[in-house]
């Protein structure tokens, strides 16, 4: 590592922040693009599981709230792709790589949404897991990303509340509704445990070394468990992991080791809904292409 890069690493590790016009090592720039692009992809792909439920939402109020949440997530994708563009990769290139399967998106968006219970679990717990990661990104060494994250976290907090409200309505409803939530939780638990990634030590994680992330994967998962397991259990719901328990002396949660090979397969396009979602994104990109062509032609 050359002296200039060494100084850069020390600077970001001491909490220093970088602006888009500042000098940065090529490796830092490419790691930033990869990380932020995947975040943008996830926001964009993340609306598809919820989109399936707009027409099936149980009340008008729920339909409106779900639509608003979806608009927020697409808005986040736009904000995030802007950050990537200023780092040198155009949005169209990001979308090309997304639909061709070259770029990744988050594991939780590779699964189908079978019932309205899934919509509640996603809005409450998937968003809760996401906000644990996103809050840590408020301290990202790349300042334009950290700034945009402030707005995103602000909007996500409404999503969590909306999800919790959906869940509360169902657990206080009929036995059938309660079971719907339990069944959704059973299916979503493993993806939730996968969400923060394998427990690679923070110091070996390049994203942490560059201070793109400010915490290691396991720290994030522990924070999620600490915050949300009690909230799940107090509703009478059962978490499908007999080994899940908290050591009250160390405040550390132990759990059944998730299948990390499965996580790898899912995020490389082999999840139960991966190909269907990518096909839909490809199709909608083709279908709306004429709009952008006309808009750009009119403006020219």
């Amino acid at each position: 590592m050359d002296t200039r890069t060494q100084e850069f690493v020390e600077y970001v590790q001491a909490g220093g922040q970088v602006e888009s016009g500042d000098w940065m090592p090529d490796d830092y720039r490419s790691k930033l693009v990869k990380f932020i692009e995947m975040h943008g992809n996830s926001e964009l792909m993340g609306v598809l599981p919820e989109r399936d439920w707009i027409l099936r939402a149980p009340t008008l109020q729920r339909k409106l709230a779900l639509t608003a949440k979806i608009q927020d997530e697409v808005g986040h994708a736009q904000l995030i792709y802007r950050v990537v563009e200023d780092l040198g990769k155009p949005r169209s290139a990001c979308l090309d790589d997304l639909v061709s399967g070259k770029a990744k998106f988050h594991n939780v968006f590779h699964y189908p949404t079978k019932t309205w219970g899934d919509v509640g679990v996603i809005a409450w717990l998937v968003d809760a897991a996401a906000i644990v990661s996103q809050k840590a990104l408020l301290k990202c060494s790349y300042a334009p990303y950290a700034r945009i994250m402030k707005k995103i976290c602000w909007e996500e907090s409404f999503h969590i509340l909306h999800g919790r409200d959906v869940i509360l309505a169902m657990v206080t409803g009929t036995q059938e509704q309660f079971e719907l939530v339990q069944e959704a939780l059973d299916r979503w638990w493993e993806p939730l445990m996968h969400f923060h990634g394998n427990p690679i030590p923070a110091d070996e994680d390049p994203m942490y070394v560059w201070r793109i992330k400010s915490q290691g994967n396991e720290d994030a998962r522990q924070q999620f468990l600490e915050g949300y397991v009690p909230q799940i259990r107090e509703l009478g719901l059962e978490i499908p992991d007999p080994k899940l328990r908290r050591d009250d002396e160390t405040s550390v949660w132990s759990y059944t080791e998730p299948d990390w090979d499965r996580l790898k397969a899912v995020v490389t396009g082999h999840g139960p809904a991966s190909q269907e979602r990518l096909a839909f994104r490809r199709l909608s990109r083709e279908q709306v292409d004429w709009v952008s062509r006309i808009v750009l032609a009119e403006a020219a």
Binding site: R82, E85, R147, V295, E298, A299, A300
Partner: protein, 95 residues
């Protein structure tokens, strides 16, 4: 051609406009539409400024070769002199 537009927002009346982020749009009318959606759809802004990125001239270096600290409050350390003046005048408060 898609252009980059910088968006500044004022959160409450009387507050300064602060940079909020940017949008890409082919012209000002689309830029306004996107900025309204992105930064104003929850009544979180009092007003927006939308500026083409080329209109922003950035300056980031402020050299101080001549040590101009007499322009700033940290250029003045009056504690010792004030103490001396009070002692001379006989107004020093016993502590």
């Amino acid at each position: 051609m898609t252009l980059v537009w910088e968006v500044f927002r004022q959160e409450r009346k009387g507050q300064p406009f602060a940079h909020a982020g940017s949008v890409t749009a082919p012209d000002l009318s689309f830029a306004e539409l996107y900025a309204r959606e992105q930064y104003g759809r929850r009544q979180e802004s009092e007003a927006l400024w939308i500026v083409p990125r080329e209109g922003v001239h950035a300056v980031a270096d402020f050299p101080d070769e001549f040590d101009l600290k007499y322009r700033r409050v940290d250029g003045y350390s009056i504690k010792a002199r004030l103490k001396e003046a009070r002692e001379r005048a006989g107004t020093a408060v016993e502590s």
